[in-house]
């Protein structure tokens, strides 16, 4: 069983991307089928990894390690544990659904899929990386193609602005954590970028307290933490549908995950020292994001800000540094990824037909697109944290964890559930029910089979986890145990 399965997952998209670039530009269907094939390979392998991960054994599995630059202790080192196996699966799902959603792209699909797949490789690489250098390497590969994807295929009104804003925000964040990462490397004196060894480096307390903010907040910019969240709604809205799905569904988790893996796991004392700050900022995310989402009139902006709000919950769980909170965050990253991918897919389907996203102008779409309406309602229930759906499995432990740290913060944060319910119900009411305006009545048809496959797949995942939480919670909590052991068995 020494098939280098993780490497295959990481490299499949980028190789497919290169292959796609070699196809003549007018053979658009060949491009699409290559993309679909690669997505299916990546998805099935990530499913295989997920279900073959041995929870009772724990630790890192499917490990592969090759020297990259031994003189500096840089290696290509991958492996999955309870935290990143769900995220790898998430990436596989979003990649697959993203390809199906983007089937209709007619402007330079060759370049579109190539850039999208370079991004996907970067994302897979970060999630499975065990080497700090490799993590940075793939992190930047994951972030950059966003610029091209948004600015070329995005919403014409804001794409230039949004793409540049997003890129600059994310790169400022990433280079700041890069300097922090280099400081860790030299500070440890171990001459290795291996994160498992670095986590045992025993950095001094003052060192940890000084460097933690750089590393954590540098990555957390991509996780959308307040006050550095501003790029994200603009970016989501300007991006084409598949890219929004990738962006909100996977990339924001990339930031949160890297902040966890590099910030919290390598500098635990720093994390304890600064957790109050993360707690407060994440609380602002949760509540403020929800309020802003409530007053938006653009369908896609509502979803964009709801992502800010939900990612706040992930950060809130991190800040608790206890088992419940971290487990909740781990599941929330997956659950929110699927949910928000679904939301953006729905927004894209509505927009493609109505050519407007103003909530006031839409209405009555459940008659024309029943599948879409049902899917959105399911997503909405997940978003509100309704029992029986994955959102509940994720959010409930987070609130439990926060309560242990500070009940007042838990109470304030729970306000967001009410606000979330209010904007989700408003959208359901105004977009999918109510009267349909004359101009839409005639030319709006139902979605394609491919779209229905996407919606069904995403909904089934959310419901399955909601009903059988043990599929994921056991795995995530095995990963969390490893994190907590770094805190001296706290």
């Amino acid at each position: 069983m020494h098939l280098p399965i993780l490497s295959v997952i990481v490299l499949t998209p980028i190789i497919a991307g290169m292959l796609i670039l070699l196809v003549p530009s007018d053979r658009k269907n060949i491009v699409r089928y290559i993309a679909l094939a690669a997505a299916i390979v990546a998805l099935s392998l990530s499913i295989w990894v997920y279900f073959n991960y041995d929870i009772s054994a724990g630790g890192y599995q499917f490990v592969e390690k090759y020297n990259w630059l031994p003189e500096l202790g840089i290696s290509y080192y991958v492996g999955v544990d309870g935290m990143n196996a769900p995220l790898t699966l998430l990436t596989g799902v979003v990649m697959f659904t993203g390809v199906l959603i983007s089937w209709g792209i007619d402007d330079r699909p060759r370049e579109f899929f190539a850039f999208l797949f370079i991004l996907a490789s970067g994302v897979f690489g970060v999630f499975v990386a065990q080497d700090l250098f490799m993590l940075f390497f793939f992190y930047e590969i994951a972030v950059f193609p966003m610029y091209l994807l948004i600015s070329i295929w995005g919403w014409i009104k804001t794409r230039e602005y949004a793409a540049m804003k997003l890129t600059l925000y994310l790169f400022i964040g990433s280079v700041i954590s890069l300097v922090g990462g280099l400081a860790l490397y030299f500070g440890s004196g171990l001459n290795t970028f291996d994160m498992i060894q670095l986590s045992q480096a025993n950095f001094s307390e003052s060192f940890q307290i000084f460097w933690f903010p750089f590393v954590f907040f540098g990555f957390a910019v991509l996780g959308g933490i307040f006050p550095f969240h501003n790029w994200s709604p603009d970016g989501h809205v300007a991006a084409p549908t598949a890219v929004s799905m990738f962006h909100a569904g996977v990339l924001m988790k990339l930031g949160a995950f890297a902040a966890l893996r590099v910030g919290i796991m390598l500098l635990p004392v720093g994390a304890q020292h600064w957790s109050w700050l993360i707690l407060i900022l994440a609380l602002v995310n949760v509540v403020y994001g929800a309020f802003i989402a409530m007053v938006q009139t653009d369908f896609k902006y509502v979803i964009g800000f709801s992502s800010v709000s939900h990612m706040g919950l992930v950060m809130l769980g991190f800040a608790t540094l206890n088992k419940e909170g971290l487990t909740g965050s781990g599941i929330q990253m997956f659950s929110h990824g699927i949910m928000t991918a679904l939301f953006f897919a729905v927004v894209g389907m509505v927009y493609d037909r109505a050519h407007t996203r103003e909530i006031g102008e839409l209405g009555g779409f459940s008659k024309k697109m029943p599948w879409v309406a049902v899917a959105f309602i399911i997503g909405g229930l997940v978003s509100m944290g309704m029992p029986g759906f994955s959102g509940f499995i994720a959010e409930f432990p987070i609130f439990m964890g926060v309560w242990q740290v500070n009940p007042i913060i838990a109470i304030i944060a729970s306000i967001s559930i009410v606000i979330t319910a209010s904007y989700i119900i408003r959208i359901i009411g105004q977009v999918f029910f109510g009267p349909m305006s004359e101009e839409f009545e005639h030319h709006i048809g139902d979605v394609t089979i491919k779209d229905k496959v996407v919606l069904t797949l995403l909904c089934v995942i959310m419901i399955t986890i909601g009903i059988f939480p043990s599929i994921m919670s056991g795995m995530v909590s095995s990963g969390v145990d490893r994190i907590l052991s770094l805190f001296g068995g706290a």
């Binding site: 530009s25 003189e71 793939f138 590969i141 230039e160 280079v175």
Partner: protein, 485 residues
């Protein structure tokens, strides 16, 4: 360091230089004999000849063990000189390919001859171990470049470019020569390693050391276009024939860095280390900041690349300032990565302006629809300049910043990374034209002739190779750097 007595192996050590002279003579002969229509083939001859010289150098002139001083201490044969000679010849070969199809340039034999002589000068710069030799090498490099910058005599901008380059260059080199004369006056020595020994005496007045250092830095600062000696770069690059602008910004700049590093490490590090480190740290910050900020406003792609190359000099100076094994290694690695990347960037500009006849950034609109492969080459080159993985520029930047962090100059690393964000902005602005904007010329064909295709493919492949399999390149850089210590 012992100066060796003459032996036949010494001739092998300068074999690359000898062969360069032979090649220049061959080109001269062919130029006299061949008919004007066939003179374009001189480009192939130059590139092929250089390739042959590189192969021969690898076979017979590879330095053994530690470096040695030969020819009465004029020349030092070590990995630094050897590897950079190869690099300069590589750059010259690529430049010859880019120049072949340029009207009024590539069909003239003297263009290639001048370039060979300049390359010869650079090789000698890399190996010079004596200030007299060093000065002669710098002049051998510069004088042909003055002519080449003003090569298109019918074009006012090119003439202006050549003249401007000459005036600035001559002034800077005079001041540097004065610095050299002070070195000789204070120590009575001309060999770099002997001077270092004299300076090592703690009773030697510091003011004398620092005074001569400042004067010498004027000349080197001009070569690497560091602040405040960068003013010539944009004007000269804009007016000079594009391949020559590329050559100036890569090979000539790399040669400047090689002598800078050798002189600083050998002469001044034992005697005046804190002083020059502080001074160059400030120069580095100003160079990259000014280069990046001024690049933001550029409308002409060659001027933009000129300012970007100033900014890159600033990044490389970070590695110089972090003087240590890792610091110099990162400088060498950066120079390798930067050389292939910037050659590719200028190559794309050359290819494009050859057909379209414009260097305005706005003319690049719609390029990705017009010629997807050229657009992709440009994307790779510019992203590597901006420091994106998996391209060479990313690794190079990381090593430079790592060197700074290692010697506790975290503030310098922070200024560097923030500057690279500014850089990212203007590189993206160009790519926005290439990929995003549309133009009326989109459907017009854009013909790329064979030399461009070959040269660009080699460079793009190199950028990705250095960016992904960076291990061997890093080890090579380490070996080169260790020859200095």
């Amino acid at each position: 360091m012992v100066i060796e007595n003459f032996g036949p192996t010494m001739v092998l050590a300068i074999l690359p230089e000898i062969l360069l002279v032979v090649l220049a003579g061959l080109i001269l002969a062919c130029d006299a004999i061949w008919k004007p229509e066939t003179k374009r083939v001189l480009g192939w001859l130059t590139a092929g000849g250089l390739l042959l010289i590189m192969v021969i150098s690898f076979l017979v002139a590879t330095p053994q063990g530690q470096g040695r001083l030969i020819f009465g201490g004029m020349i030092r044969q070590d990995w630094l000189s050897f590897a950079f000679s190869i690099l300069f010849m590589f750059a010259a070969a690529i430049t010859a390919l880019f120049a072949m199809d340029m009207k009024g340039v590539g069909q003239k034999g003297e263009f290639y001859i001048l370039m060979m002589i300049s390359t010869l000068g650079m090789c000698l710069m890399a190996s010079a171990a004596d200030i007299i030799m060093l000065y002669l090498a710098i002049e051998t490099t510069s004088i042909p470049l003055y002519i080449l910058a003003g090569f298109m005599t019918r074009d006012d901008k090119s003439t202006e470019s050549g003249f401007k380059y000459f005036l600035f260059g001559a002034t800077a080199s005079t001041i540097m020569l004065y610095g050299f004369s002070l070195l000789y006056g204070f120590t009575g020595q001309t060999n770099i390693y002997q001077i270092a020994l004299s300076f090592y005496n703690p009773e030697f007045p510091k003011i004398a050391i620092i005074g001569s250092l400042l004067l010498i830095l004027v000349g080197f600062g001009f070569k690497i276009s560091a602040f405040p000696f960068h003013f010539w770069a944009p004007d000269v690059y804009e007016g000079a024939p594009t391949p020559i602008a590329g050559f100036l910004s890569t090979a000539s700049k790399a040669a400047g860095f090689v002598v800078l590093v050798r002189v600083l490490v050998s002469i001044f590090t034992p005697s005046a280390a804190p002083e020059w480190i502080n001074l160059l740290a400030i120069v580095s910050v100003l160079t990259m900041t000014i280069g990046n900020v001024l690049a933001l406003a550029q409308k002409n792609i060659k001027r933009l690349l000129a300012y970007s190359s100033i900014a890159h000099a600033g990044y490389i100076l970070i590695g110089v300032v972090a003087v240590s094994q890792l610091g110099i290694t990162s400088v060498v690695f950066y120079l390798i990565a930067y050389l292939i990347t910037n050659l590719a960037a200028f190559g794309v500009v050359m290819t494009f302006s050859q057909v379209v006849g414009s260097d305005e950034i706005s003319a690049y609109s719609g390029l990705s629809r017009r010629k997807p492969w050229l657009a992709l080459a440009m994307l790779v080159a510019f992203l590597s300049l901006a420091g994106m993985p998996p391209l060479a520029g990313f690794i190079a930047k990381i090593f430079v910043f790592a060197a700074a962090v290692k010697v506790d100059m975290v503030w310098l690393a922070f200024i560097g990374v923030l500057n690279s964000i500014v850089g990212l902005y203007y590189y993206l602005t160009v790519l926005k034209h290439v990929y995003l904007f549309r133009s009326d010329d989109e459907d017009k064909p854009l013909f790329i002739s064979r030399p461009y295709t070959i040269a660009l493919s080699i460079l793009i492949f190199g950028i990705i190779l250095v960016g992904t399999l960076f291990g061997p390149w890093f080890n090579l850089s380490t070996q080169i750097a260790s020859s200095l210590f």
